[in-house]
Amino acid sequence: MRQTLFESLTRGPLTEAPPPPDAAALAELAANVERSARRRLGRSLAIREIDAGSCNGCELEIHALNNAFYDLERFGLRFVASPRHADVLLVTGPVTRNMRQALERTYNATPDPKWVVAVGDCAADGGIFCGSYGVVGGVGAVVPVDLHIKGCPPSPVKLLQGLLALLEGGATTGPA
């Protein structure tokens, strides 16, 4: 273990330069979120992830945000275990009928002000699972959504771009 630790100290970091915030995400946020809400949340956000019916593909890429290459925590973004500690709900999947109540309860357990980010093509509108008896639809059909990050699944870079827009958006958009 000593050798591994020592090498980690001497070797350069694997962490890569952050991508620029996504322009489309910035525009969507400017339309959806009041500037005052952003100011109150500041630049450090606690994220609670909720799988509301996903195939687990989005979860795998959200997990990757924590690896050494993307290192989400350097931006002040971190995943928390309870919705009561969260500023942001990161919701994946078409919302299944069996998860609807759990998603609503989790949303209601999150203190205001809060943002909801819908991750993945299914979370936008139900995607390929639309029309099934088991699916309500996109996340927006159950709780209000502030930002969509598309992809099947979105890559960690796409996820970072969307989440950085959450942080950066407050300073650069909205009425004075």
């Binding site: 996903s54 979860e59 890429e61 690896n67 699972f129 099934s132």
Partner: protein, 503 residues
């Protein structure tokens, strides 16, 4: 010894490939169930179909001859003799059949619904489609009796970035005396969306049944469709499928080995294994244009090719990964505090692993020597040299070691695949008549089984059986007598799929 499949009395169905399907009488169905219960054959899957007549199907593996067969029973009166009454691994399959189709397993030991949590508008959505009852029925968990016991309900929303499901723990102090799972929260109705879909759309649904096994699902679905249409795909496509399957196995094993250690609070393994996983995903993206390789395996072949630089990129990355992984194994093996958590924790008994035909590393860590790449086997693995690691301890540590050994085997396999990759086309167009096909593919988690009934080039009925169906119940047995704090460790060492199970 005569093979079980030879002694079966039944009417053989035409156009079911590659293994036979026999329509049995009720007595013969009961006899097959008894043979399975006696340990002469393994139950690979149990599902229902509506067609001209409502039917239940059972896929069985003769353990002595490794023959596979599907046996069917027509249920005009809506009932069938319960297999679960004799053979407990069938119980959840039968509960799901009842909840989805309304078919009644006569004599079943557990009549509670499964997958249907009472939130749907319809009852029996794949069968009679009756309106759901107005009041949501109360679900009764199994009774637990004893002094000073307390219950801990967990989920469906869990603390980490994981899929939803409900766990009901009953504990005496710190020790778990019973775990009961309740699953179905991510039920999307995939099999209903499959019915009537084009093969192309159905392949996309199959690829999104369990995102971590998208390549394995792609291969199993392709096997089933290609069997139903009786077509053979080009050898280059077979090799490229295997290449993607082994990359998928590597990515998942790397990620999970680290995550298991993380659940014992040994985060340095997690950090380094996550780097290895990321390297594999980046190579997959560079070579095949998608990090998880979704939609790259299609019925008829593959939807991608390996470019000129791809093979070198894979070789270079694997050479680095092999060097780094060797050091991590040493770290895993030489850290006494970590071993203290892993060894002896969450033991799956060998007889239960055999009874449940436990797929993947869950079975192979408890002495069950089964790997769909060997038995029944499929190209190109019959031309490649690899071994199937099997251990007998059955604990978390054994499951980790099986996966460590599988990483080494997959790396060697990828080298062979790249060396021997034949030239030629990567896909052929789909053509053929209606038919039925059964497909198996070994994903990282275990064997994925998919059955299709085609109506021309459309799917009439498709059933997808994730390996997790036969692993989840074993987790309930493995955790018994362990402390609550070791549950994440045990759970992660299984890493069952919720979405693959819930469908």
């Amino acid at each position: 010894m005569t093979a079980l499949t030879d002694t079966l009395q039944g009417e053989r169905v035409d156009h079911h490939r590659p293994w036979p399907r026999l329509v049995l009488t009720r007595d013969a169905w009961h006899k097959v169930a008894s043979e399975i219960a006696a340990g002469h054959a393994s139950l690979l899957g149990l599902w229902a179909d509506t067609g001209a007549v409502r039917t239940v199907h059972m896929a069985i593996l003769d353990d002595s001859t490794t023959d596979i067969a599907v046996v069917s029973l027509e249920c005009p009166d809506g009932t069938f003799p319960s297999v679960g009454a004799l053979h407990p691994p069938a119980i959840r399959f039968e509960r799901a059949i009842h909840s989805l189709f309304g078919l009644e397993p006569a004599g079943a030991p557990d009549a509670r619904p499964w997958l249907d949590l009472g939130f749907w508008d319809v009852q029996y959505p794949l069968g009679a489609r009756a309106p759901a009852p107005a009041a949501r029925p109360v679900y009764e968990f199994l009774p637990v009796e004893g002094e000073s016991l307390h219950q801990i309900p967990v989920g469906p929303v869990h603390a980490g970035i994981i899929e939803p499901g409900h766990f009901r723990f009953t504990a005496g102090g710190e020790t778990i005396v019973r775990l009961e799972q309740r699953l179905g929260y991510v039920h999307k109705g995939i099999e209903s969306l499959m019915a009537g879909a084009t093969i192309e759309t159905a392949a996309k649904l199959a690829a999104r049944t369990s995102g971590d096994s998208t390549v394995a699902y792609g291969i199993a679905f392709a096997h089933a469709v290609e069997a139903a249409l009786d077509i053979d795909v080009p050898l280059r496509a077979r090799y490229l499928r295997a290449l993607m399957a082994e990359l998928e196995r590597l990515a998942n094993h790397f990620g999970d080995i680290g995550a298991i250690c993380n659940d014992a609070s040994f985060s340095i393994m997690h950090a380094h294994c996550a780097i290895l996983r990321e390297l594999v995903l980046r190579v997959a993206d560079a070579c095949f244009g998608h990090r998880l390789m979704m939609d790259r395996v299609i019925p008829g072949g593959v939807a991608c090719d390996l470019g000129a630089g791809g093979a070198n990129l894979i070789r270079g990355t694997l050479a680095d990964a092999r060097r780094q992984f060797a050091r991590l194994i040493e770290l895993y093996d030489n850290t006494a505090s970590l071993q203290d958590r892993m060894a002896g924790t969450g033991i799956v008994q060998a007889d239960l692993a055999r009874q449940f035909a436990a797929p993947g590393y869950v079975g192979r860590a408890s002495g069950r020597n089964f790997d769909a790449r060997k038995t029944p086997g499929y190209p190109p693995y019959d031309r490649l040299d690899f071994s199937v690691p099997v251990l007998t301890a059955g604990d978390v540590n054994a499951r980790v070691w099986v996966r460590i050994r599988e990483v080494e085997q997959s790396m060697a396999l990828i080298g062979q695949i790249l060396d021997r990759l034949p030239d030629g086309p990567t896909a052929i167009p789909l053509a053929g008549d209606s038919g039925e096909g059964l497909g198996l593919a070994e994903g990282f988690r275990g064997d994925v089984l998919i059955w299709v009934r085609l109506d021309g080039l459309r799917v009439a009925r498709c059933h997808l059986r994730d390996p997790s169906w036969l692993q989840w119940p074993l987790l309930e047995t493995a955790i018994e007598g362990n402390i609550v704090a070791d549950f994440p460790l045990c759970n992660k060492s299984f890493n069952c799929s919720y979405s693959g199970h819930d469908l």
